[in-house]
Symmetry: C2
Subunit: 474 residues, 2 copies
């Protein structure tokens, strides 16, 4: 535990390490102390912004010496308050935004070495400038940092083709919880030299160390893409379309997003300039995207054949294929506006769940029914990455009722949803992680054997318990 004198000494040391301009205290810390969803506000001794791996190491060592908790932070765009310090004011937030070099790019090896503070979009652009694709893509890509994407094993919209952040990473550089630098930046596709440290740090949400750089995989840029919006009668039909699209398009299927009409109707209500380019009445929509390595003609003909066959088989009621980049963007914009439309509409209980796709129709039907029995009038604004089995199963307060009434039952409602997820062998955190918000859920829903293993790993790699304490494991 840091003493008041110790805190002064520590602040002085942090200023020596990073330079006085990069150690923020008091009011200057404020932008870094509230999570993106504005659910949690903490306090900190300081926010330090190191510029090099060695500075990160020295900051961690200084904090260890003074017993100060270390809270790593990227773009602060997480959904589960994983980068927000507690309210004791003892923590040092290590904000990674100054480590923003693209260190190298190797076209023949299809790899890129980036520092943790690069904005995801900058990484995408560096790949694009070299004629390559870095496929990780998500709503916050203009402000999230790649280090945070890796620390949380980010997902997004291209997972069904390219995998999560984990699958896109070959190597890491990490400052360990002991203040050592592990240089694991190998650009290798095969490396069986001991336990898989890389994947242990990826997704550990800053509780085992700080990722300072990474070697990422690059892919060929697609030659052509096609986007369509399809309407259907139920989730079962959407899953049938997914199976068909996988079989017809194989690795060229790069997007498959489900949207309930509850969700799209809310977008239309709150953003009247948007539209659904299909005749009204269908309860469910799928946004699908293909990427072709060959030609626009091939992309178009395969996509049209797929949709025609799905129509023939009764899987879809109607479909619109984007005829221009603008139309494709409008379709994606509809999908990406759902979160904001939900926020504009009222209180919402959010669930980031995944279930085997074959079990999703049953889950949605039975859970929607249970919710109506118990919480009559709530609205299931379900949407998400059906191609990965990942639903944002978000439940809105009933229309015309006070928000406070809903807030009172929100925990009970989420319990009902998560119990149903457990009964369907699913995950209560598909892509957003545990952070500070879901630690109780993790304890409740995970196997005690697994929890015990997680705790042992935490103790083994962070014996002082100072790396992002209270996150993931309570």
């Amino acid at each position: 535990m840091t003493t008041p004198t110790g805190q002064v000494v520590l602040l002085g040391r942090l200023r020596e390490i990073a330079g006085p301009a990069h150690v923020l205290t008091e009011q200057a810390c404020a932008p870094y102390l509230t999570d993106w969803r504005k659910l949690v506000t903490g306090r900190a001794l300081a926010v330090v912004r190191p510029a090099t791996t060695e500075q990160v190491r020295d900051v961690v060592r200084a904090c260890l010496e003074h017993g100060a908790p270390v809270v790593p932070q990227g773009g602060n765009t997480g959904q589960v308050a994983g980068a927000t310090p507690d309210d004791t004011g003892r923590a040092v937030v290590v904000q990674m935004g100054r480590m923003k070099r693209i260190r190298s790019i190797d076209i023949e090896n299809d790899t890129l070495v980036v520092e943790a503070g690069c904005v995801l979009q900058e990484v995408q652009e560096a790949a694009g400038a070299a004629g390559r694709l870095f496929p990780l893509s998500l709503g916050a890509e203009g402000s999230c940092l790649i280090g945070g994407n890796l620390a949380t094993n980010a997902g997004g919209t291209q997972v069904l083709r390219y995998g999560n952040a984990r699958e896109l990473t070959l190597g890491l550089e990490v400052v360990t919880a002991d203040g050592e630098i592990w240089n694991g930046l190998r650009a290798l596709r095969k490396d069986n030299t001991g336990y898989d440290l890389r994947d242990l740090y990826i997704g550990s949400e800053g509780t085992l160390g700080i990722i300072t750089a990474a070697t990422l995989k690059l892919f060929p840029l697609p030659v052509a893409q096609r986007t369509a919006l399809a309407a259907m009668g139920g989730v079962e039909q959407a899953v049938a379309l997914l199976t068909r699209a996988r079989s017809v398009l194989g690795a060229d299927l790069t997007g498959f997003e489900l949207m309930s009409s509850v969700a799209t109707d809310l977008v239309l209500r709150h953003y009247p300039d948007q539209r659904v380019p299909l005749r009204a009445g269908a309860p469910w929509f799928v946004l699908l995207e293909s990427s072709d390595s060959e030609s626009a003609e091939r992309a178009a003909s395969r996509f049209e054949a797929l949709l025609a066959a799905a129509f023939e088989a009764g899987e879809i009621q109607d479909a619109a294929i984007a005829e221009s980049v603008a139309q494709s963007r409008a379709m994606w914009h509809l999908r990406e506006s759902i979160t904001l439309a939900l926020a504009a509409e009222g209180k919402c209980a959010k669930h980031d769940i995944s279930i085997a796709t074959s079990r999703i129709p049953g889950f949605v039907t039975s859970t929607d029914a249970l919710l109506q029995q118990r919480f009559a009038g709530v609205r299931s604004a379900t949407f998400g990455h059906l191609g990965d089995g990942n639903l944002h199963y978000n439940i809105l307060q009933p229309s015309g009722t006070p928000a406070t009434t809903f807030v009172e039952v929100q925990n009970e409602l989420s319990r009902l949803v998560h119990n149903a997820v457990r009964d369907h062998a699913g995950s209560i955190s598909a892509e957003q992680g545990i952070g500070g918000l879901r630690t109780a859920d993790l304890q409740r829903y995970e196997d005690p054997v697994k929890l015990d293993l997680l705790r042992r790993i935490k103790r083994a790699l962070d014996p002082a318990g100072l790396m992002n304490p209270g996150k993931v494991l309570p």
Copy 2:
């Protein structure tokens, strides 16, 4: 440490658990006590062959109680003696071959749940019977067990398209070193609920627990495949062809194997019925394969266009496209015969290395030259999975010299090769693991920070130190 009385009690307990017929002792153990390469022979108290996860758990608990080391074993086809007990005779070998159920298959979710004792080929066949592909493929597939493939994170010939065993696995069931069952058989493509235990057990070579079952990913069967053999003047041209093939074929490039003419000439000498269907004289060959999701016509025209462009660009001197399944098999047979031809030819120092593909030409040229300077006359019979940067950089004794002379310098020669690998930021064990044979190399070539982290993980998850002791970490 087990006492003699304790050993008798333990044997009795093992017979209760697995049935007397499935606890082998004395001479009956012999087939399980020598590694595949016949480099190491150990001893064991017993070889037990459990039939269920609960039996595996009970065996581990009994061994823990009596302080007996546990050595998990699959098909005993590993290259690094990772499943062979030491010579104290105290260990219990847990042979997984009786746990061979395909537990379930889910076509809509594209997943398969198998027990650890399924032969890899049986897993491939179960997938095929359901109209799906399980792409893990390697020389030993007719006898290796999927549990061993996962414990060693097996690679093989399809990695450049589908990844290693790690990337093909969604969930695991594991008996931990404490004798608990962790049921992590989720069939989910996104699951961020705590640290990545799955990938920690995958590749841990039985030193942290015993994998008893797994949920594996399935893929669409390709509609058509094309195979070709191309001849070229150097490794640089082979890398250029790889870059071109990746860019033209994208995800349809499913095989890219490099072979030196030293290696192919040995096959022709020892297996005179085989042939290289190209005009003689080229020092290097590439075997390449594409898999098309659409049609045989498309597969053929793209493949021909690729090879024509490579010829035009001077990357290849000659090429033969297989015109039948038989011709394609003959090309693969040539590649797969190299290991046996090397064994027939004489003593060989084997190195299973990986290096960023862009650096491989420089590595091969400079290391070949260093070897000739220091060990005049040795023959570099280099071949391997160039598409993954993985070379079997195998060095044969000079022609006409006694094997004993070569054996004397073999360690020094391997040191030279591995030093060169380190200087090229590569790995000294790309796909075969560390096992019992490469523990000293791991200590020599890996970062002390990494080694310290590995040891901590071992202590945390196997506090008694009884799981496959002496493997991976000494």
